[in-house]
Structures are given as C-alpha cells and as structure tokens.
Symmetry: C2
Subunit: 318 residues, 2 copies
Amino acid sequence: MSVFTPVPESVLADWLKDYAIGRLVELKGISAGVQNSNFFVTTTLGRYVLTLFEGIPRAELPYYLHLMAHLARHGLPVPGPIANRHNEYLGTLQERPAALVVRLSGSSEMNPGLPHCEKVGAMLAGLHLAGQSYGRRQENPRGAAWRAATAQVVRPFLPADEQALLDAELAFQATIDVAALPAGAIHADLFRDNVLWDTDADGDVRIGGVIDFYFAGYDALLFDVAVTVNDWCSTPDGGLDGARAAALLDAYHAERPFTDAEVAAWPAMLRAAALRFWMSRATDFHLPRAGEMVLVKDPNEYRDILRLRIAGVPPLPR
Amino acid sequence: MSVFTPVPESVLADWLKDYAIGRLVELKGISAGVQNSNFFVTTTLGRYVLTLFEGIPRAELPYYLHLMAHLARHGLPVPGPIANRHNEYLGTLQERPAALVVRLSGSSEMNPGLPHCEKVGAMLAGLHLAGQSYGRRQENPRGAAWRAATAQVVRPFLPADEQALLDAELAFQATIDVAALPAGAIHADLFRDNVLWDTDADGDVRIGGVIDFYFAGYDALLFDVAVTVNDWCSTPDGGLDGARAAALLDAYHAERPFTDAEVAAWPAMLRAAALRFWMSRATDFHLPRAGEMVLVKDPNEYRDILRLRIAGVPPLPR
C-alpha cells in the first residue's frame, strides 16, 4: 500500500529542531515507496531519508530501527537511524510515527551479473552473522503461520490447478522442521530494488546500501537466503540461473558455512520463499483494499517460481 | 608521538573473523597519524580505518569510541566505530588496544574560505547539541589543570619575555569562572586537518567527516569554539580574520545561541585555547621524548596567537 502523507517544509523545519543535524535545505518526496511515505531530506549537515510509517503498528517499529542501528554499527552498509536530542529514533510527524535514517548512495541494479550476486551473498552472510548478537526479537511477519493463514484467504480466488498446487505445498511445508535450522534476524525482502550499488574510487562496484528492513523478523536464516536467491538468481521464466545462484551461495557459504540441516532443507526453503511472495502478491491482486494505492505485481511470477523449484534445484555448497 | 606498530595481513585477516564485515581485500598504513598507528582497511563489505592505540590508556578509550558512536547515530558526519561479534568496539591487536571505524570520504582543506568556515561552525554546534545527551563523562585531557601544570614544566626553557607572558596569562586565566559556561562533550582538536571535505552530487562542498576524537573530553563548549576559530580563522601572522570568524560564529550561533556568560568569556577562551597549543607544542619542542617520532610543530605560532588575542578580539554574535 502507499498512502502518501504530505509534509510541508515549514512543518519539517520545525520538527528538525529536535535533532542536531542543522537546518533544512531541501525536502523531496520519493515516489518509489509502496508501503510508507518516504522523503529525501537534505540539511546543512547531511543527507537523510525521512519515513512516515503508514501501516506498521508503532509498537513494532523499534525492532526495525534498532536492528538497522545494530547492523550499521557492526559495519554493514545499512542506513543507521538518527537519534533526536532525547536520544530517540522514533518520533511523530503529521500524526504518523516517523524516523530519519542516513541516506546511503547508489542505485539498484535490476540485471545483476555474477559479481553482484557474489557481493550480495557475502553481504547477506554478514547481516546474519551480525544479527546473531541483536538483542530484540520479533517474529517474521510473513512467516509460516502468516503463509498458511493467507493461503486460506486467497485460495477461493484461484483456479483449480493452482488450488491443488497450493494445497500440496502447504501440506509439504507442514512436514518441514524449520526449528532445526539456524535462526536469527533476517531481512526477508532482499530484492534487487533494496540493494543500492555504488562505484568506489577505483571504479569497482560495491554495495552502497541495503534498505527497507520493514519486513525483517526472526526466522530461519536459510529462508532469507532463499528469498534472495529466488529474486537475484531467477531467469525471466522463473528458472534458477545456476551460475548466479552458485556465485551468491558460494560467497555466503565462505562467510557462514551452511549446516547439514540447511543443506537438507534448501529445496523446501526455496519453495517456502516462493510461496510467501505468491501469497502476498495474490492478496494484493485479488483483494485490493479501497483507499490504498498498490503497486500490483504479478502473482503468477512467484507461482511459476514455486512450480519450478518443486521440479528440482541444485544442492547448496558444502 | 608516532610509534608505528606493523600489522601483517595474515594477522589482520584472522582478527577480522571476529567481525561481520567480510574478508580482507586491502591493508594500507596511513603515514599521517601522529599519535596512534592507523591503517586503511578494505574488506569485501566496506572501507574502514583501523587504529592501534599507542599512548592512550585502555580505560580511557571507551569514552572516545562511544562518543563517536553517539554523534554518528545523531546524524553527524563522525566515523562510527564498528562492533565485533561480541558487540564490543574495543579489541586487541598486536598487543595494542585496537578499533575499527567507518572510513569517511573527503580530504582536508588547508585554505578554507567563508563557506568552509560557515559549515564548520554549524557542524560544531551540531556536535555540541548532540553531545548534551551523551551519558559518559571524562575531563578534557588538556583542560585548565593540565595547562597550568604543563606551564610549570615548560617555563624554564622559555626566554624571559615569554616567561612573563606565560605568568601573566596563567594569572589571568585563574580569574575566569569556566564553570559558569555551558559545558559538555567537546572535540577539543578541530583543526583543519581533522575535517574531511567531500563534494556532493550537485558539486557543492560538504563535510564528509570529522575525525580524530582522541583529545575529546568534558569542558566548556566555548573552549572548543575557541580552538576551532584559532585554527580556521587566523591569518598567517596569527591575527584573527574577521570575515572567516564571523562566518563560523554566526553559523554556530544560529544553531546554538551563545549565552551572556559566553559573550563575556569569549576573549578569555580564545586565549585559553591559544595557551593550550602553545604549551603542548613547547613541550614537544623543548622536551622531546626518546624513542618516539614527533611531528614537531612551531610553538611560536601559538605564542603569537596568544599575544594577538590578548591585544583584542571582536565580540561574539548575539
């Protein structure tokens, strides 16, 4: 959903007096936001992103903001939230929960090559390793329970063959012992548009930022790897690109070696990750909510990815 | 002092396993360090600066590292320290206390113009405002007590006219009620070489980083302003450049208005700040320590600045 709350410059300039980042120079809405209202904010001291949270309950926001702060202070390219003069990350602006984060540089790469996949794999392992010492815990909001519940809501809108696919997949997933897998804080939405690529002084491409942690939560680390591989390493028809998948997984494995339980669960996790996005997109498609602007993405893309992952996938490195 | 501790790549690569920032790509010593051993460290995930602390007692280091973290999370362009997998900023490498911080971009500007002075003034006010909510406290290591004690050590090496200048200044400074001034965490060494200037996407110059917080401490905020003005706004002969001083002070004043007590104490603080660097440079000059490499700076520069500040200075904005 995208409910856009306007913020007049004078209101923001006044709100910024509660921070130590100087005076407002420029305020610019970001049209790309599909869940919250986002703005680029430039002050005399730096460049920031302002987010007004439109749908997430206020009580759930500290988990996300402190996770971003935790990862940033562990050296990962994650936008650290900015504390105000009362040492708080979360404020209120235009009657919405609101937060400023550091604006990182770079832009998305929608046609990633092997070097991109390798860097994303290493970075994801870094996120998972650093996340192990994060003290807060909030369940993955799109975890197994959400997927099972959402499937029942979406099911009546699907044709018979898709209903059969869904029923079979839910039955299969219910047999998987996710608790046996290493778990921790996961990003859970590390799609290509959530990674910003920058060029360093030597002209080498590097990750300038990983953004949009508002689907993060506690879950199997391998689920996060699966979400990432399904997006970064799929061919246009949904098949797995073996070379890109190997680049991403080998780089991840070098930082955090996969366990035996993870090697066994890999095909199931790729399927669970596909199911998650099939279900969320099918919900947006079949059950649009009045009064909300939704960037409707094709649910069939992830239905096809699910079918192709069921047909078979290469094993994890070990 | 500059005692350089070498760090072999293999030793660092092993040490980095305790962090979540990927694999070592490049290690490069920084020759500019005059107090500690500093290195540029590039990993698969980012660019960092590694510092091995050569002289500062280990117990004093958390104050500096947590201050940098505090200011960075308040949105200031300060290199945030990197926590290891045990959530600690301070480690041990080659038998020295050691820490990694974010490597910020930019380079020093030794011939600052009015826009530079304006930006430094605004940024210094931001540091002071954000520092008000910093919970730790450690006295300025080059505060009034250090200056008085060091003066007695240096005095015998000075010619008669400088001894008279020193005695008169110490007597004058003893009459100043520093406790009446707003206080907090100050940088205390914000010279031109400790500010990195960067160019943003629009070609505008901006502060990319403020570095070297290892003289920071709790003291009068105005002392920090005076240290900064004496370096950024002096002519080659030590006189105050009125236009640059006005640019810096007006920008500071706009963020944190000077109090009446500060307006009254301004000439005395400029003199105290000049005395501090005269004394430290005279110590390095007259009492070189065996076995240490010292970048000896001319003590007479700050003797002359002191004399010229005694002769009179323009008032603070109000």
